[in-house]
């Protein structure tokens, strides 16, 4: 059966069978016969698995679920799992994946073929862990870069396909989270490519259909009372989406969701975001107090501190911290944004 799935990985992209189950049974039987033959034949077959399948749409059959688990197998590194998922489940070509991740095609081809080798011995004697699949899809969505292949849209497509095959509140939670963020995407960047912060976004440009769909999926998931981190993150995104204006955001509820999220993940990044929300709900002093409890070496700590100090009226400290945050920013758009904030405050103080 395992060999049959590997074979499916190889040929379905180009030539999806009409009867998938029958196909797998037939191929599995043939593979069993093959396996009893000479070593030379086995080597040839393994070589064939290495070969690049032709590009094409992914097979829309229930066995797709097994492919999701295989491609997100814990024995793979995150980068390999992402590449294999996009190739085998998403049906993207190696060239498209290489371009999306800005690496040479040869490198991506090797990454994918290594990943295939790594999982070729995996046995499906136990059901896979859906959390590993969700992490991979989250990574694809969050990549941010959008070239010829829109990775965020691809992640949504793959998550939708997964949600149609597996009934799990966290799958729904992740799909809702993606839809709610995708809804704001057009408003996130100005025409010159600079970042527009949430509070300054033109909410008229938010995609209300996507928001409605995301909220509906999230509500159905939450009603099942099996909370997980993606549902909690989606709930926060939904509360932002629900506010007609930034000033009308329900920050008290958002803080409560960050408390849930802290309980679920115990992540310092979540605590940092919570400090921002506390600053909005209870005032900048309360936010700074929450921030004081956190490690200053956390990514974006200086940016959060700068924001809270500005709200508190300490423009000199805020300007200094914005400049420091710009220096530490992990991406260009964020660095430019933070530099502008520092420059804005410095100009105001000099006047």
């Amino acid at each position: 059966m395992q060999d049959a799935l590997v074979e499916a990985l190889r040929v379905w992209a180009a030539d999806p069978p009409r009867d998938a189950k029958g196909w797998l049974v037939t191929v599995a039987w043939r593979k069993f016969l093959d396996a009893t033959r000479a070593d030379a034949a086995r080597r040839r077959r393994e070589d064939r698995v290495e070969e690049e399948p032709a590009p094409g749409p992914a097979p829309a059959v229930d066995d797709t679920l097994q492919l999701y688990f295989l491609c997100a197998h814990p024995s793979l590194t995150p980068a390999s799992a992402v590449a294999l998922t996009l190739r085998a489940v998403g049906g993207l070509t190696t060239r498209q994946i290489a371009e999306a991740y800005l690496v040479p095609e040869a490198t991506m081809a090797q990454r994918i073929s290594r990943a295939k080798r790594t999982v070729s011995g995996v046995r499906f004697d136990r059901p896979g862990d859906v959390a590993t699949v969700l992490r991979v899809l989250y990574l694809v969505f969050n990549e941010g870069y959008s070239g010829d292949v829109d990775l965020a849209a691809e992640a949504i497509r793959l998550t939708r396909q997964l949600a149609a095959r597996i009934d799990h509140p966290e799958v729904a939670g992740l799909l809702a989270l993606m839809l709610l963020h995708q809804a704001r995407r057009a408003a996130r960047t100005a025409s010159d490519g600079s970042l527009v912060p949430l509070a300054e976004q033109d909410r008229g440009r938010w995609d209300t259909a996507l928001i409605a769909e995301g909220v509906g999926i999230l509500q159905a998931a939450l009603a099942r009372d099996r909370l997980g981190e993606f549902q909690a993150q989606a709930a926060i995104a939904a509360l932002h989406a629900d506010a007609p204006a930034a000033e009308e955001t329900d920050w008290v509820q958002i803080v409560e969701w960050y408390d849930e999220l802290t309980r679920l993940t115990d992540s310092p990044v979540v605590r940092l975001n919570r400090a921002v929300a506390v600053g909005e709900a209870d005032g900048p002093r309360a936010g700074l107090a929450a921030l004081a409890a956190l490690d200053a070496s956390l990514p974006r700590h200086a940016a959060v501190a700068a924001y809270l100090h500005e709200r508190d009226g300490d423009l000199a400290t805020a300007a200094r911290l914005y400049a420091e945050a710009a220096h530490k920013a992990p991406n260009l758009a964020e660095r430019d944004h933070l530099t502008r904030q520092a420059a804005r405050l410095n100009a105001r103080r000099c006047r």
């Binding site: 090797q110 990454r111 990574l139 990549e143 963020h181 975001n273 991406n331 964020e334």
Partner: protein, 135 residues
């Protein structure tokens, strides 16, 4: 999945442990060094982590704009320039730790006496695209 630049310096890095300049190596030592670098790049391609590798000539010039309608001004090279880049390798890896591990391996390229150079390499992260999910 993050890209790092492994930067090799002609000048400006702290002194290597095996600090004999290349023009004083034997032919075999030079060949062994070049082979090591090629093998390293080939291995990274196989692991799906190689992006690019380039070498630069040591001699360059400084160029700047000199006003409307005027040709650019060129100057240099300046012998006193402290930092001189020799070349780089760009890698795409899962973690900072992996980037450091690979830089360590690259720094072990053999030099005089066939011994590792223990050369200091600079590891610099790329500024990536902003993530889709921010709050």
């Amino acid at each position: 999945m993050a890209k790092y630049l492994l930067l090799k310096h002609y000048r400006g890095a702290p002194a290597s442990v095996n600090d004999v300049p290349m023009d004083q190596w034997s032919q075999e030592e030079i060949s062994a060094h070049v082979q090591y670098m090629n093998d390293f790049a080939a291995r990274l391609e196989k692991t799906g982590e190689f992006v690019d590798g380039q070498a630069l000539a040591p001699e360059g010039a400084w160029v700047r704009y000199d006003g409307e309608g005027r040709p650019p001004v060129t100057d240099g090279p300046f012998a006193e320039t402290k930092d001189l880049i020799a070349g780089w390798m760009i890698i795409d890896v899962d973690s900072y730790e992996r980037a450091v591990e690979l830089a360590g391996e690259l720094s072990a390229a053999p030099g005089a006496g066939g011994k590792p150079i223990h050369e200091w390499l600079e590891v610099r992260p790329f500024l990536a695209a902003p993530p889709t999910i921010t709050e």
